[in-house]
Symmetry: C2
């Protein structure tokens, strides 16, 4: 595993892919590779893109890759696919649209389809970012799917958070409900040629204005940018490049005001939490699963021979000092 | 804590509220109350309502309460509010709309606003259901917010899953992406008087038809029901009662085909997982937090004095046998 970490540091794409897959599959001792690369992380600018399904996040991500490549930045993309509880796999698979970057060695795209249910998705994202960072990617884009608490957790890994809205039913309500207002650094209103775009724009500006007092670092003026649909490719690329500029500006703002470390603090706390899960609970679960104990326990509880809490106490007393 | 459990079994609403709050706040030893009530659980019919924000889940839930009360069933409602990462609280607070049932002793409504990030939400939902069950509620409605992996986890606690769609942008795509297709027992198309309802209806029927082969228990015909907007209250209540009938029918189907235990198996596995988290990892986290260790650890990692994985290993060796 130490070797795998070294290969990633040397820029080996295949090693990086394998490491990310190992992390997702929770292969034992994968953390040894992570220990190896950790000192070479913390250099990339991590950009989170979130918003409701259908808001056009994938299209934007795709255009961002292009925009950053025009500026000769190397790019990593971590796309978070939802997990089907039945197949345990990604429904959509690796993003087909991004194939146009497949030949570009400075672009590295991975989809996550995490199986683990207990907070594993955020853990896999945090670790995936480290791998891309150690691989030398300068800009790492994390694209979430949907808006919910899980997405807020994922987005906490980013330095710059872009929330994508589209005109339609209650998008601003969605963002509010999901707590996205409080994490947004940049708002993008996509499909701005649609009905209701003007209204959404005004409402979003209002929200930004109202929430200003509550923001942690409130000297940053949260911009609200408009992007028209993909109907006009040239115009679209131009608008996306304007967002890219704002993204860079935000990063510079964080650097200049010593706020990068604040962002990292939030992320680091979550990471320690997740590493503790990996070091303490995961080995217990793996052991139980290996021995077929989980199935036996399920049957016991179903028959009401024991309750889950007493059962967990018993296992804890076996494993915990 | 044992006393608190006993009070819940005796039907004490305030004790039930306190127990749910204790579970959410992860007060130590709360599991003792859960051990006390566990043998009196498993009697309620748990109904999950999920769908995108703005789909009208709260309105439907409210009408369901009314419909079930007309049939003299006691009702518990567990509404899952999103957690703001900053305030740690519910944005919307307890559902104001449901106040009209406030005087009805056979209706018990609680909102969850779980602080814990590591899979705690699903845990709190599962435990909240047990409390309402032990309290004697016959129908327990769990209402999620948003569509995402977290929602799928929450919805796994239900026997009957209702997915609410509304005409608009890519609702069926949302359901697909979030893996909701595979967990839906009943589809409801709300606001069916809106443009695009017919199209959505046909698409949903198609989806149901296509997914039939993959379903675990595929002798149940997943119905797709239409509900018009609240504009016509009388008609609305009638449509909701038709859904209630389907919900009852689905429960009977599960009972008749011995499938209830299958649903419980899925739920039980998740619960054991969560109880293990509570018994093994939670005490470690509580200890670390109490001693201010977490903050110290965060600073160490930020300064790159140590990586999270090595740190977690060290803590594991202190706590794990």
């Amino acid at each position: 595993m130490k070797e795998l970490g070294k290969k990633v540091l040397a820029g080996d794409i295949r090693a990086a892919s394998r490491l990310i897959r190992n992390l997702e599959d929770q292969i034992p001792n994968t953390h040894i590779a992570m220990q190896e690369i950790f000192n070479n992380t913390g250099n990339a600018h991590v950009i989170g893109i979130t918003g409701a399904p259908g808001a056009g996040k994938s299209t934007l991500t795709d255009e961002f890759i292009y925009a950053f490549r025009q500026k000769d930045k190397s790019v990593g993309v971590l796309a978070v696919d939802p997990t089907s509880p039945f197949t345990g796999g990604a429904l959509l698979g690796d993003r087909i649209r991004m194939l146009r970057h497949a030949e570009d060695k400075k672009v590295f795209v991975r989809s996550l389809a995490t199986r683990c249910s207990m907070g594993g998705l955020s853990k896999a994202v945090g670790e995936g970012i480290h791998v891309m960072d150690a691989l030398g990617k300068e800009k790492i884009i994390v694209e979430t799917c949907g808006v919910g608490q899980q997405e807020v957790e994922i987005i906490n890994h980013a330095h710059t958070v872009i929330v994508v809205l589209v005109p339609g039913m209650g998008d601003e309500i969605q963002a509010l409900k999901a707590g996205l207002m409080e994490v947004a650094d940049i708002f993008v209103i996509n499909k701005a040629d649609r009905d209701g775009a003007g209204k959404l724009y005004k409402e979003t500006l209002n929200m930004v204005h109202m929430s200003k007092g509550a923001a942690a670092d409130n000297s940053w003026n949260i911009p609200v940018l408009l992007v028209e649909s993909v109907l006009e490719p040239h115009k679209f690329a131009e608008s996306v490049d304007a967002i890219r500029e704002k993204v860079e500006e935000h990063y510079q703002y964080l650097v200049d005001n010593n706020l990068l470390v604040e962002r990292m603090r939030r992320k680091t706390a979550a990471e320690i939490n997740e590493a503790l899960w990996g070091a303490i609970l995961q080995p217990v679960l793996n052991n139980l699963e290996k021995d077929g104990e989980i199935e036996k326990m399920v049957e016991q509880v179903l028959k009401k021979e024991i309750d889950p809490y007493t059962l967990a106490d018993q296992i804890a007393s076996k494993y915990v000092k």
